[in-house]
Symmetry: C2
């Protein structure tokens, strides 16, 4: 379908177009506000995700450094770090929406406002010109009408004088000359009015069929460019987010990888590394034969007991003992399972 | 590398394992809290996006219904609707994290706590049993020691009596019997102590090499399952978000499609449909010859003027006039461009 031209179809809708183009600018303003609010939401979301990640990061304590040896803790830390990257992607969305839409549209709206102002200024000027031409035409028409009336009256006066037998010839002649003069003046006014009318019609024709359509065409083109700009922005809106999707996907891949790197066996091994004392479980308790020893000497008893005790509690291998002395591992506390005293 | 067994390596770290498994449960609690907070962020984000979409939806006014005829307005509306779907996907993330992690882990932690309690209960019971066995051994050893002492004293007493010439035979015989009896009691205590010791060593051996390793192995397996569960949850965490990515992609595709559906020409056509009055631009103004008409009649003048006026303002075609009467379109307001009156 061939597009109808605003110049031809809307020639009498100057005010409507003024309102419509104003609405068009307000639409862009509103759309800009929409994007800004979307950006705020993204920035806020990113901030919350960042804070979440920070909140669950391990503290710089000895305890949490120890924990970082477990694959599960390392995987959680990796997840938190990927979450920070993920938050960063939502910041990228906000940044790109601001740069590619908010800023661009801001400049565009300024230019659009200036262009619109200029077109409607041209329109008003052309219309003012036609209004003046109309006033001129009216004035020359009124003069012609008045001069006709005067000529008519002068002619009637002459006819009346001419028919009156009591009037002198000189007075008749005077009235005739007067009527002739008035007729001439009316004739002159007629040709001036006629020329003025011809000029007006020519200008009016040009106004409605050349000047006005041209201005309206420019407004139409301006408006079509505006609509096109809306399309560009809306396409960018989707593009900006689409661009981060693969990176979000990578973050998720890394999270999965971190989850898969968890090794229950390695972690229980790490528990051994962390808590192992190096002591051996207690061996058999030896028989203490008071009956046999007593016959020889009383001191034998106490000697036997102390030797037995050292055997009961616990056998420390020489090398294990050395490592106990040089590492921060605490020796087994006297719990029930440490050894039976 | 062969995993070291907690039963063999950590036999004396019962308390450490109790602390470590408690820490493991706290890790799960903390992780659950982390997921809950992530869910809150997602729900909040979705809510904000929904509100944004709602805020910019067209109102149910005549004006905005009119606007919905423009492709740019329709595209914006489509974007807003896709944004609602997009928000929905973040709600899906929150829902799935709740169902697949928070709820699952809640149940799992309950089971884990119960299992852990049971294992440490078994451990304490076994240890209590060994403590009692030790007390029993100590007691039978002390009895043996005491009985040896008594037998020793009785023997010494008998030897003293036997060597004393002032003592009666009857008294010597009495002391001999007493010594014999004490020796027999000591002999009985010795065999009881010996049996008790044998029993204790057997039980202690079983305790440290069978019972305890078995309990510790169960705790180790429980802990390894816990770590595995952490891995499953962390994998789910990434999966839940990965599942919505294609749908988010579809939302973005629809937004792009909406943007591409914007047609500037169609919209400027729509402006014509919306504002067109149907009036034609004014034609040439006709010449009014007062001079000629006046000669015939005065009434001719006024007649001519009114005829001329009706021609000046505006030429309404019959069909256009009909459409004006039946449509809500307002007739052109008397603006400067409507027509020159």
């Amino acid at each position: 379908m061939e597009t109808m031209s605003w110049g031809a179809e809307l020639w009498d809708q100057f005010d409507s177009l003024e309102k419509h183009t104003q609405w068009g600018i307000e639409f862009l303003d509103r759309y800009t506000k929409f994007i800004k609010e979307r950006c705020e939401i993204e920035v806020n979301y990113a901030k919350q995700i960042r804070n979440l990640s920070k909140k669950y990061q391990p503290k710089k304590s000895l305890r949490e450094e120890e924990e970082s040896k477990y694959t599960s803790c390392r995987a959680f830390l990796a997840t938190l770090n990927e979450l920070t990257d993920y938050a960063g992607q939502h910041e990228v969305i906000a940044e790109n929406l601001t740069a590619k839409i908010v800023s661009e549209l801001g400049r565009y709206i300024q230019d659009l406002k200036a262009e619109r102002k200029s077109h409607f200024h041209d329109g008003r000027k052309a219309q003012q010109h036609m209004e003046n031409a109309w006033k001129q035409l009216e004035s020359s028409k009124r003069r012609f009408e008045r001069d006709c009336r005067e000529a008519d009256r002068a002619r009637q006066h002459f006819e009346k004088m001419d028919a009156d037998i009591n009037v002198t010839k000189a007075d008749v002649e005077k009235a005739r000359l007067q009527a002739q003069m008035r007729a001439q003046i009316a004739e002159d006014s007629k040709s001036e009015y006629s020329s003025c009318l011809e000029n007006f019609n020519q200008e009016q024709n040009q106004h409605y069929h050349t000047l006005l359509p041209l201005i309206f065409q420019r407004i139409q083109e301006m408006e079509e460019r505006r609509v096109e700009q809306v399309g560009v922005c809306m396409k960018t809106f989707a593009e900006v987010e689409r661009q981060v999707l693969p990176i979000v996907g990578t973050c998720l891949d890394e999270m999965s990888r971190a989850a898969e790197s968890i090794q229950p066996k390695a972690d229980s091994q790490q528990v051994v590394e962390c808590y192992k004392s190096g002591f051996e479980p207690p061996g058999d308790v030896e028989f203490e034969d008071y009956g046999l020893k007593r016959t020889a000497s009383d001191s034998n008893l106490s000697h036997t007991r102390s030797r037995s005790k050292s055997k009961l509690w616990p056998f420390i291998k020489r090398n294990r003992l050395m490592s106990l002395l040089t590492s921060p591992r605490q020796p087994p506390s006297p719990t029930l399972f440490t050894a039976i005293p």
